[in-house]
């Protein structure tokens, strides 16, 4: 009774082709991640061990571990987080809770977008000009961390803002109606309900700061620092540090004679740290989303 017309057949064929081409394109963008992770892990295997993590480099960095770089990265991430998190969260609070829709708010929005778009090497120049030279901090943990903080601020702002916007307006109205001020409402109702998004932003900032190398290249990261095995507090805030990302760069381009598996092991640890932090953010988001009450 219903004979498929040639036209209908053609449409069906087009549909099938489109679906498979689009699926292929999607998987082409997804597969590299697994290929990269697998390749890194296989090549790094001979050098990966606990002692690789907690030992300092030896023999002009051609042997040994990455402890000083690992601790240096933890330093940079912690200090930049301490600087960026309060400012970022409060900036998001202002944008979502206080700001009205006028030219000024639009300017701030545009500034946030542009801050995220400024190339990392320009952030490095800024850090060099402002923190290292003008503020007299020298090449130090503080200068490098502040550079990272400015650079990662948009990450925290974007995530926090999205979370704040998701809190229903009625929650605020209910709170105001029992006499709470704006800030009391934000502190007692809005922020607790948005905590998952705030934490996600903070965690993504950590991952971003841990992986960056260009901004710290001239502001505080150095090629080598002598650090004892397992020393937890080797650096002062005004000292230069080793960092994982720049250590990988140096190991690959500056240091001669490092075996390849050492380079791959360093890359694997860096990727591992960053992806672990990111996965935490993803798990947190999924768990808290399923628990959401409204």
């Amino acid at each position: 009774m219903f004979e498929a017309t040639p036209q209908a057949l053609r449409r069906r064929r087009q549909e099938r082709i489109a679906t498979s081409v689009l699926a292929a394109m999607t998987f082409a963008t997804v597969v590299p991640l697994f290929a990269i992770l697998g390749y890194l892990l296989v090549k790094a295997w001979p050098s990966l061990s606990i002692s690789f993590l907690i030992e300092p480099p030896r023999d002009l960095q051609t042997h040994g571990g990455i402890w000083p770089a690992l601790v240096g990265t933890i330093y940079l991430v912690t200090v930049s987080l301490a600087a960026a998190a309060p400012v970022g969260v409060l900036a998001a609070v202002w944008l979502n809770e206080y700001a009205r829709d006028n030219w000024f708010t639009r300017t701030v929005n545009l500034a946030v977008i542009n801050l995220a778009g400024v190339p990392s090497i320009v952030h490095a120049l800024f850090g060099l000009g402002a923190f290292v030279l003008a503020a007299g901090l020298g090449q130090s943990v503080l200068a490098a961390s502040l550079t990272l903080a400015v650079m990662t601020l948009p990450v925290i702002i974007a995530s926090t803002r999205e979370a704040l916007a998701a809190v229903p307006w009625a929650f605020r109205e209910a709170c105001w109606n029992v006499g709470a001020t704006r800030w009391q409402t934000i502190r007692a109702v809005v922020l607790p309900n948005a905590i998952s998004g705030v934490l996600t932003g903070v965690i993504l900032q950590v991952s971003r700061a841990a992986g960056e190398s260009a901004p710290i290249l001239f502001t505080g990261a150095v090629m080598y620092k002598a650090v004892e095995k397992g020393d937890l507090l080797p650096y002062g805030l005004n000292e230069s540090v080793m960092a994982l990302a720049t250590h990988l760069y140096n190991l690959v381009t500056q240091i001669n004679g490092a075996p390849e598996s050492l380079q791959f092991a360093t890359a694997t640890v860096l990727v591992g740290v960053v992806l672990l932090v990111n996965s935490t953010a993803i798990v947190l988001r999924v768990v808290l989303r399923t628990r959401r009450k409204w």
């Binding site: 087009q14 999607t26 997804v30 991640l33 190339p119 120049l125 800030w183 971003r208 990302a245």
Partner: protein, 313 residues
Amino acid sequence: MTTGASGAPAAPGRARFRRPPLSVWTERLIETVVIASGVSAVVFVAVILFFVVREAAPVFVSEHFSLREFLFSIEWYPTSLVKVRYGVAAMIVGTLAVTTLAMALAVPFGIGAAIYLSEFCGPRLRETLKIVIELLAAIPSVVWGFLGLTVVNRLLILLFGASVGLNVLNAGLLLALMSVPIVVSIGEDALKAVPDAHREAALAMGATRWQVVYRVLLPAARHGLLAAALLGVGRAVGETMAVLMATGHAVQIPGGLLDPVRTLTANIAAEMGEVSQGSEHYQVLFAIGVLLFAITFLVNLTADLVVRGVRGK
């Protein structure tokens, strides 16, 4: 807005409510801090521009420097004793070449993936794929550079017989992989923003899903998709470490995909460590920073205007 301390006249028959002065002052103090944080983004953008321009400024009046030569000359001899030349045209072309190649790959694949994610696949697969793409975006650029130097380098020598595998093609491939996640996520948002009524109307008329996509969704979401491409461009232009390690670092106009180049960003990263602070060479590197700031600012501004243009309608 704020519940005032001075207060409105009390309602008849009710006790007048007054907040204690201390709480009023705390409220004001906190509000000031919140506003200051909100404004900080604007301040930071301004301060970034200020400091980069400040360090670059002396070179603009130097006798060795002319803006025309800076932008249009391909002669880059910053350390020459007899013939100092500060022309970055070759690096501008290098940046353009690498970015164009990256976008030629990342935009079709990114938008294709965005269409698949938003229109064709089920919710569970979509969530999984989005997580993978998010993780892909998280891989640090220095790791991409390392992969370019080791893996892609060897692959290109093997496949194309290139003498050196560090070239436009290598960096373009890396940048494509690095910017594809941003194209996917912004592109998917743009498709999501098209009202479901559009889809339902087209399906009700007997359109297949593919016809819905290319007759209804792509035209309706074209501004958002353009913005996605532009943000990808911004990402690719500003990328430093990956191109520093993978482009092969020759200051020249590339004749083909297998020629090495140098980009603006890589040039700053490579030479800043070796210049003496305050020298003319150092100032020119900051001038390149100003140029990069201007380019990315324009790209991001355009993307924002394109998106707002859609919302305005």
